[in-house]
């Protein structure tokens, strides 16, 4: 896995981000900048707004106010179709509960992401198989998600996230639904991805994940950034 990147350039720039659900504010004036090659962990108690931030950056939801620039692109200016194109080309997402398509076997789940960009099915499957091999789940390529273990599902999900070689990976509690062994494997995978140049934004409750995988920690409370600190990654 190799990729080109303009190291040090801002990949994500969030300014004055606010998101309201009814009268409650999930995000209240968040500003944040993440540079290429960084691995940033966002931590905080439940309901503090960290997943909301991730959804905004992924273009899955729209803010009430504020701006989000990803690779210099203002997400607020994109319509639904534009956001879909942004997601398929610019980012890879990893979810706590994997969010694989139950109707498709592992290989097709991974290949689907490339097919969306117009890659022919045969070529997409070859690339998907390559990724599954690299992640150690090629033997389970014809299995449907329901028959995979949690760790296997997450590795398939990571393969899918990497399918279109995105510079930015967004992970929402990537080890939250995994046992400790599988969790460790996924952490190693994330460290390796960051080492290869992928920019990571990880939302987590898990201090071990943050300290092992992230180079910077952003702490949230009540929809606000309360502290940011650089981390020494522990192997």
């Amino acid at each position: 896995m190799t990729m080109d990147d303009n190291a040090g350039e801002p990949v994500i720039r969030v300014e004055g981000l606010r998101k309201e659900y009814g009268s409650a504010a999930a995000l209240d004036g968040v500003s944040l900048e993440i540079r290429a090659g960084e691995s940033v962990a966002v931590m905080g108690p439940s309901g503090c707004g960290k997943s909301t931030l991730l959804n905004m950056v992924a273009g899955l939801d729209r803010p009430t106010s504020g701006t989000i620039l990803v690779h210099g692109q203002d997400l607020g200016r994109l319509d639904e179709t534009g956001l879909a194109l942004f997601r398929r080309r610019q980012i890879g997402m990893i979810f706590q509960f994997f969010n694989l398509i139950d109707d498709l076997p592992a290989l097709d789940n991974v290949a689907l992401a490339a097919q969306l960009t117009g890659t022919p099915a045969r070529q997409a499957r070859l690339r998907a198989l390559e990724l599954l091999e690299e992640l150690g789940v090629a033997g389970r390529r014809d299995n449907y998600p329901a028959t995979l273990s949690g760790g296997e599902r997450q590795r398939v999900a990571v393969a899918r996230a990497l399918m279109n070689r995105p510079a930015l990976l967004l992970a929402d509690e990537p080890t939250g639904a995994l046992d400790s062994g599988s969790g460790r494997q996924v952490m190693d995978l994330l460290i390796e991805l960051n080492r290869l140049g992928h920019t990571l934004l990880i939302v987590t409750h898990d201090p071990q994940l943050a300290t092992r995988c992230a180079t910077r920690l952003v702490e949230f409370a009540d929809g606000r950034v309360v502290r940011q600190s650089a981390l020494e990654t522990t192997p």
């Binding site: 959804n55 992924a58 899955l60 939801d61 639904e80 179709t81 879909a84 194109l85 997601r87 398929r88 080309r89 997402m93 979810f95 969010n99 694989l100 398509i101 139950d102 109707d103 498709l104 097709d108 290949a111 689907l112 992401a113 097919q115 969306l116 960009t117 099915a121 899918r160």
Partner: protein, 770 residues
Amino acid sequence: MSAVWQAARAAVRRRRLQTVVIGLVVLASSATSMLALGLLDAATSPFDKAFGQQNGAHVVAVFDTAKVSRAELEKTTRQEGVEAAAGPFDQTIIAVPKGSPAAPAGPLVVAGRADPAGAVDRVEVVQGRWPSAPGEIAINQGFNVPPKPGALGSKLKLPGGTSLTVVGFATSMSRSAGAWVLPEQLALAPATSQMLYRFASAATEQQIRTSLATITAALPEGALSSSRSYLSVKAAFSGQSEDYLPFMTLFGVLGLVVAVLIVGNVISGAVISGFRHIGVLKALGFTPNQVVAVYLTMVCLPAVAGCVLGITLGALLTKPVLQAAFEGIETGTATIGTSAWVPIVVLIAMPALAALAALIPALRARRLSATRALNAGSAPRTGRGLRAQRLLGATRLPRSLSLGLGQPFARPGRSLMAMGAVIVAVATVTLSTGLTSTLVAFAEAGGTGAATEFYVRAGRTGLGQPTRKLSDQETEKMLRALPGTLKVTAGVFVGVDLAGYQQQPLDVQFLRGDTPSLADQIVKGRWLEGPGEVIVPPAFLSQRGLKIGDEITLTLKGKQEPATIVGEVMDGGPRFIWSSWQTLAALAPKIPADLYHVQLKPGADPKAYAKAVRSADPGLRAEIDADLGESISTPTVVGFASIFTVLLTLVAALGVFNTVLLNTRERRRDLGMLKSIGMTPRQVTVMMTASMALLGTVGGLLGIPIGIAGHRIVVDSVGSIVFPESAKAVWHVPQLALLTLTGLAIAVLGAFAPARSAARLTISKVLHTE
């Protein structure tokens, strides 16, 4: 393979039930649409096409040559409104003897025409040739009626004894004549001449009458003897097939309604239960339009497959139905079949309809926020139906029952669609039951199977039967004297011409004696009360544009007798009418009765009676009355209605099945929780079944009046039958009570299997998954 196709194909493969339900419902709808459209097309297109190719006559007018000259008739062709005309052609009537291979026995209208072509009524020679010399004749015969062996070259005689050789057979869609000879053949003072007109305005009977009145206004009074519009010929062509149309159309509409309801319900369910699926697609980068495309493709695949199978099934069913619909009809050069546009329209329209039904829920999927979809996993509960749940909870009903009864209120849209399917199914069952009852009642009113009614026929020498020993009067006296006799009506069938109509002669049954049971079938007007009166069936009136009170002229062997139409019976062929013995006496006083309709007293033994008749005169044959004289085929209609009812009921049950399955999937967590606090599997089954039982009962109650209304529309729309009120009033309390249970039965049938599966859910698995 595109991503949309990949995602849709996988969804179709994994959601087999949904795919089967959509395929099946579209199959049923496509088959019935094929039948309805095929009949509609066959009723008009073949005639219009063949009539157009021959430039058929809008009017065949017959003029009295004693009152109008050829020059005056030729002048009418130049009047305003006349598009084209042919004639005048002299015409006469010849008597075809019994046993002639060329034409049926009876009078035959012969017109003098030099050639079959012309501006109007381009007669098509189908066998042999057109007459080219005096002494030759061509007979009008349809494509579908091959001439009898030996017909070509056989002889017929003109009045006066001139012999004619049959040299050909030709078809006129206008039915301008029964046969043609060269004009010089009829030069010896013909009594009448025919003119064939095409008018600029000829869409309705009124327009034709007005046009004819305009062009004949200047002619001497009484010059126009008779006229017949092409609309009556067309009605004769399509009358029988149009009788089937109300049935097929109504079933077709019901099929379409079920298709929309089920497809809408299934896809709504797929969207609601597939919120997470939609969220994942969007998170991956599917555009909103691609999400819609995935969901529409999921519908269109089984819809197209179901449609193709439905068209095939419809095509197979159309053949026997068209055969029944056109049985005995003179179709001329028209080829009966279904046009190519019918399957094409069905193939385009049915999947389009299914896609349209799926579009609304698919658009919901389009609008859905990806975050909301991913987080919800399924459609969020909004607390709807809580009030109903609270009210039901306060009742003394077992809690599992009250919980189940409250469920439909939580998802009112889905519940209404499931109930809609039940309503249509119950309406179909009601309609089908009603039609069967009506047809059975109709058959009974016509005397079918009534063991106490007999026809006693005099043996016919020509058929090798022993001849009667007793005379007509003696036979009637003998029958009246036999023990067990209640009523005797003597009659005879006589072929009689109807002046002014170039059609086959009428079969008139002249009656005397007691009023027969046929009088009970009078639906309009009254029974015969004296001479010069006739009773007719609806088809007789519709094919000739006549009504009760109109006067017709019966012609037999040169004698004419006017007769007034005084009554209409509910059914019968267009050539069969009834009149009194006094009318026959005026036309042919010496013809004896050879058919005696006998009604026995209650309790009389039919076998003993038949034996007594044979003992009195071995030349008499006693037969139980089995003459229904249907214009529509009861087995065809009942069979079709039954198959369709079973199909729609099955589909409605599958719709309920799908609804319960969705409810179960959506409520997995609730069910797990309820089981974890002690709800038994039996209680879970009761709860899930009860939720649909309520919808089934309400659907049953609503479906019955719709079915009854549909039944009334159908029985009132069959042109050739006027069903008596006794045959229409087929609804009784026990039957209605049973029909009410139909809705409940459909609901329970559909709900039971998924309810049982819900009862078997493993608690730990359910709660863990959530």
